[in-house]
Amino acid sequence: MKLKVKLYGTLSCRFSDYQHLQGMEVEIPDGATVQDLLTLLELSESQNAVAIMEGRVLKKPDKIKHGITVNIFQAISGG
């Protein structure tokens, strides 16, 4: 399935033609998990990537739904 991925923080640096407001389209197998998507995008553990879909933070084994935008952030703290 195709899905839209939006990258935040410094995660988009690796993708030279990434357009911030548009995001990018990614193809993943049906039933793929968040971990599969992170692996496909080559986002490493140390980058603290976290996926948010429909307002909820996802866990790595969570399955990605069809036709949805996945937002990927880096875990940071506030203050």
Binding site: Y8, G9, V50, G55, I76, S77, G78, G79
Partner: protein, 573 residues
């Protein structure tokens, strides 16, 4: 190390050595302990009995990086509670290196009298007339002071809002470039400074009599370990230098927890336009700085320099909480307007958070339209001129709500919430309710726990415990003068141990695992809660405004669901 007392009524300055039981304290621990002991809890915060205390952190002035926070403490005219508000910049290190543990400003000048308190390179304090600075905004004031007394001076000053004693007035602190753009903004401490008749504190940065370090070799080793942990932290090495705290705009909106339209929605229409990512692009294109050192001895550089289309300086460190208050609550999704508002607030000397929320409350009452940036700029200008509406807004959101008869006011103990809606991030509701400071953005900020997936923001489980742990830890780190960014990296058993070793090497007294941050944090919170109790605060004050329990927040359409009993168990000591 010495403690300086300044009596504004008698115009006297005395120095005493630091009393024994304050010796292992600095920053928030010192200001709160002193206020709890010396300030009558029921006194008028703007009267002569209140005291205003400036205290560098316990580790400020040492070679440990990121220890440049200065704590300012008092009884708050905004909340009526005890208050510590800390600011970055250069003054903390400067004071510590002059061998000064705290400056206690007491009494009140005669009406019409305005002074500067100057600490020279020998650490001697003197009061100087400030009549020619009267009414001056903070940028001009700081520039004039540095021209008169030399560039090697740090300045903490108030603007017109502080002189008018408006209860959202801030104390502005000069950064490494000499701009008064860092602020001890919360709790209206600028009004206390104004009530004392003190326009500015000027501190010479050339001091060399810093506190002794008991075991310099162990100290060096311990510092190395702390630095490594802070630098290895991904947030500090990657995100903060490139986006600063503005990096939170995107995740908090996406999680539906960005209070906007006066906390009636959790996701701002057009939030991408004010995100940290867009801000960083804009700054880069215009030739500003996305990475900037705001405070002495910083190794993280979360600050930035925002410039206009022509590359001219507008403000330094456009930060998450300001973007949220000025852009989210007011629905002004335009970075140039927000930056201008940030600069105006710094210049006039008011808290950007309280002011943004106050404007949002006025907009919500129909006084101006949400999203009207020009109107917002004009309203902040009115604070600077102390017009009728300016006075209302400058006294914060609660005063604004009363004026417009709008009860939809997101304050706890009179102080506005920060940029995380308690209905979509429950833990923030615990912190906002229970912090002795009133709602606060640093006292026990939970957002990182959600992003790290340690906690589900919408489930009750674990929220009270997490808020409790973070509030205790922050009270301890605020005592040390450490900046929040570095603190966060150290919140692990390994980080805490490394930090304990720094303290132990400085004092020569070995700290056990419970001593820091836990016991230290509890000691500080106990003093603060005791003061509040004596001032008349009860459990009933540890509650969110009603609408958080009753009005569901889109997009999650949830209300705040943590029970009063659980809230009251946060500090069961």
């Amino acid at each position: 190390m010495k403690l300086i007392r300044v009596n504004m009524h008698k115009k006297t300055v005395t120095a005493e050595s630091v009393p024994e039981d304050y010796k292992e304290l600095g920053g928030r621990g010192l200001t709160s302990t002193l206020i709890n002991r010396e300030v009558p809890p029921k006194c008028d915060p703007l009267g002569p009995e209140n005291k205003l205390i400036f205290a560098p952190g316990f580790l400020s002035g040492t070679p440990l990086p990121n220890t440049s926070r200065i704590s300012v403490g008092s009884k708050s005219p905004l909340t009526g509670t005890i208050k510590e508000s800390n600011a970055g910049g250069t003054a903390s290190r400067a004071l510590a290196r002059l061998g000064i543990t705290a400056i206690v400003v007491e009494g009140q000048s005669k009406q019409g009298d305005l002074n500067l308190l100057r600490i020279d390179e020998k650490g001697n304090a003197s009061l100087v007339s400030a009549q020619e600075y009267r009414g001056m905004r903070t940028y001009r004031c700081t520039e004039k002071i540095r021209k008169t007394y030399g560039e090697k001076n740090s300045v903490l000053c108030i603007g017109p809002a502080g002189e008018y004693m408006l209860t959202a007035a801030s104390i502005q602190s000069s950064d490494v470039d000499g701009h008064p753009c860092r602020a001890a903004a919360r709790g209206g401490l600028g009004a206390v400074m104004g009530s004392k008749g003190l326009k500015a504190l000027i501190v010479d940065q050339r001091g060399k009599s810093a506190d002794t370090i008991a075991d310099p070799e162990a100290f060096r080793e311990a510092v190395k370990k702390v630095v490594k942990i802070v630098k290895d932290d991904h947030m500090n090495s990657e995100v903060m230098p490139k986006l600063g705290t503005a990096g939170l705009v995107a995740p908090v909106n996406t999680m539906g927890a960005f209070p906007c339209y006066n906390a009636k929605k959790g996701e701002l229409d057009g939030w991408e336009k004010i995100s940290g990512e867009v801000m960083a692009d804009l700054i880069r294109k215009r030739g500003g700085k996305t990475t900037h050192t705001g405070c002495s001895q910083c190794i993280i550089h979360c600050s930035n320099v925002f410039v206009d289309k022509g590359g001219k300086y507008i403000t330094s460190s456009l930060e998450y909480e300001t973007i949220w208050a000025m852009g989210g609550m007011t629905a002004i999704a335009d970075l140039d307007t927000i930056a201008r508002l940030d600069n105006l607030c710094d210049d006039i000397g008011v808290d950007t958070m309280s002011t943004g929320v106050a404007i949002a409350v006025a907009m919500d009452a129909g006084y101006r339209a949400f999203g009207d940036g020009k109107a917002a700029i004009k309203l902040v200008e009115e604070i600077g001129s102390c017009t009728e509406i300016g006075t209302i807004l400058g006294n914060g959101p609660a005063a604004t709500g009363r004026y417009f008869n709008n009860t939809h006011v997101p304050v706890i103990k009179g102080q506005s919430i920060a940029g995380y809606d308690p209905r979509a991030m429950l833990g923030h509701g615990v912190t906002f309710s229970t912090s002795p400071m009133g709602a606060d953005h640093t006292a026990g900020n939970v957002v990182g726990e959600y992003l790290e997936q340690k906690l589900d923001p919408l489930k009750v489980e674990g929220q009270v415990e997490t808020s409790r742990y973070l509030q205790i830890a922050m009270a301890a780190f605020d005592t040390m003068g450490q900046c929040f960014m570095a603190n966060v990296a150290l919140l692990s058993p390994e980080g805490e141990e490394a930090f304990r070793n720094v303290i132990s090497a400085k004092t020569g007294i070995r700290l056990g695992p419970d001593d820091f941050p836990h016991d230290m944090g509890i000691r500080v919170l106990k003093a603060e809660r005791e003061f509040n109790r004596k001032a008349g605060f009860t459990k009933k004050d540890d509650r969110l405004p009603k609408f958080f329990y009753e009005e569901p927040l889109p997009p999650h359409n949830k209300v705040f669901v943590i029970s009063d009993e659980e809230i009251d168990s946060t500090f069961d000591f």
